[in-house]
């Protein structure tokens, strides 16, 4: 799926569905932070938005 199509599809999801995705992204972010990988690979990414 192209990026614009994916973005359109994501945008059209219900707020509840989007929140589920946010929670997965947040949990992934926490897991990466806890692993210490972030400092080694992409300093400054994934900070509070």
């Amino acid at each position: 799926m192209s990026k614009p199509k994916l973005q359109k599809r994501l945008k059209s999801l219900s707020f509840s569905e989007k929140i589920k995705i946010l929670e997965k992204l947040r949990d992934r972010d926490k897991a990466i932070a806890a692993s210490g990988l972030r400092g080694k690979t992409s300093k400054g990414r994934g900070t509070k938005t």
């Binding site: 973005q7 945008k11 929140i19």
Partner: protein, 171 residues
């Protein structure tokens, strides 16, 4: 999120807070494709504050701590979300709370700031991530340009809007 919002709604029903609205990245997600964020920004009015931000957030924190809330840096963890409670600091933020849109998350009622208010607050705040969010709104177009213009003008953000347009929107 459902548990988080239920606790916040209970806090409102108990009179600990007045009106509230979701802002920030989670608020923007109501309109845009989801983008990673670590926290939930909740703008709250406080009983007895008379439109000022002088009233204390202490009763709010006491309420949440009594229900298992844990302080974590500038957040308090409510349910499974770190929440930052923000008292509206100016007329723009007070208007954003007053005109927030009623919606539901997983069957729980809540309120989200309008797209135009989220954009105006991002413009006022002016960090790179705020500018990026405005660009996402413009790119994905779920907002009313006339309403945004009105908000920008009424809240003295014309100069910032012109600067933003010059920097990001003019070829």
């Amino acid at each position: 999120m459902k548990e988080t919002l239920e606790i916040i709604n209970q806090m409102q029903a108990d009179g600990v807070i007045g009106e509230y609205a979701i802002g920030g990245a989670v608020g923007a997600t109501f309109y845009l494709a989801p983008a990673a964020t670590v926290d939930l920004d909740i703008f709250v009015t406080l009983p007895g504050a008379n439109g000022t931000s002088i009233a204390s957030l202490s009763p709010l924190y006491e309420f949440l701590k009594s229900r298992g809330g844990k302080i974590q840096d500038e957040y308090i963890v409510v349910g499974d979300w770190p929440v930052q409670f923000l008292v509206p600091s100016d007329d723009l933020e007070r208007e954003a709370v007053a005109e927030a849109i009623v919606t539901r998350v997983e069957g729980t009622d809540t309120k989200v700031m309008s797209a135009e208010h989220l954009m105006a607050i991002a413009l006022k705040t002016g960090r790179p991530k705020d500018h990026n969010r405005i660009l996402q709104f413009i790119d994905q177009v779920p907002y009313d340009p006339a309403r945004l213009k009105d908000i920008v003008e009424r809240h003295g953000l014309n100069a910032k809007w012109k600067k933003f347009q010059t920097k990001f929107l003019e070829e």
